[in-house]
């Protein structure tokens, strides 16, 4: 079935620096969502992309369906960015099924 490989599994950044998270897909996906887990364990929406790129503040995401990947870039990281980030991709079925990556634990240090 559809698989989503998310990397890295953990990432440590110093305040003010940046990096990227990546998700690779084993099959062609029609859309991708990026989430951040909140303190209760639920998911906060960051981006939904069916193609191209989107930017929101210090976050920027890209999705290439043909090349089967998506990225989430964080720039000028702040302490409050620490947390767990997930990508989830929607495949070709009509179920709205999201296949989730295993998550990236981001730690931002002073």
């Amino acid at each position: 079935g559809d698989q989503v490989e998310q990397s890295p599994s953990a990432l440590s950044l110093h305040e003010g620096t940046g990096s990227a998270l990546r998700c690779n897909f084993t099959t062609t996906m029609r859309a991708v969502q990026w989430f951040r887990k909140n303190s209760r364990g639920s998911l906060i929406n960051l981006f939904y992309l069916a193609s191209g790129t989107k930017e929101n503040g210090r976050l920027k995401s890209a999705f290439d369906s043909k090349e089967r990947y998506s990225t989430l870039h964080i720039r000028d990281a702040q302490l409050e960015d620490s947390g767990t980030y997930f990508c989830a991709a929607e495949g070709g079925t009509n179920t709205g099924k999201l296949t989730f990556g295993d998550g990236t634990v981001l730690t931002v240090k002073p």
Binding site: Q33, F35, S42, F86, T95, G96, K97, L98
Partner: protein, 113 residues
């Protein structure tokens, strides 16, 4: 504004006992609804989806069932809980046209002993 509620917030249940988890969406007509589940240490996976009242499709077989008795309500249930049902259950909704952002509820944490 749309709001999504889940109940209960958390539950501890005995193996073999029944379970009913609820989800309500307010402020959106005829949404698509979804149930997801994450075992402790596992990956979130979709269990059920529904595009209209009375219609539910199963995605993963886990000895659970779901129903949509009202446009804004989605119920997850089983008559006999297993230890493996422990985990975190999330309800989500999206616009009825599909292929759109899914918005997640606060979740229910279930521990089966």
């Amino acid at each position: 504004a749309q709001t999504i509620h889940q109940w209960p917030v958390a539950e501890i249940k005995a193996v073999g006992s029944p379970l009913s988890l609820g989800c309500t969406i307010k402020g959106k007509s005829s949404p698509n609804l979804y149930w997801y589940w994450q075992a402790t240490g596992g990956t979130l996976q979709q269990l059920f989806y529904s595009i209209t009242v009375g219609q539910v499709e199963s995605v993963v077989q886990l000895n659970l069932s779901a129903s949509r008795p009202k446009d804004d309500q989605f119920i997850l249930s089983t008559e006999k809980l297993l230890l493996s049902h422990s985990g975190f259950y999330l309800c989500a909704w999206s616009l009825p046209r599909g292929q759109d952002t899914q918005y997640f509820g606060p979740g229910t944490r279930l521990l089966v002993l």
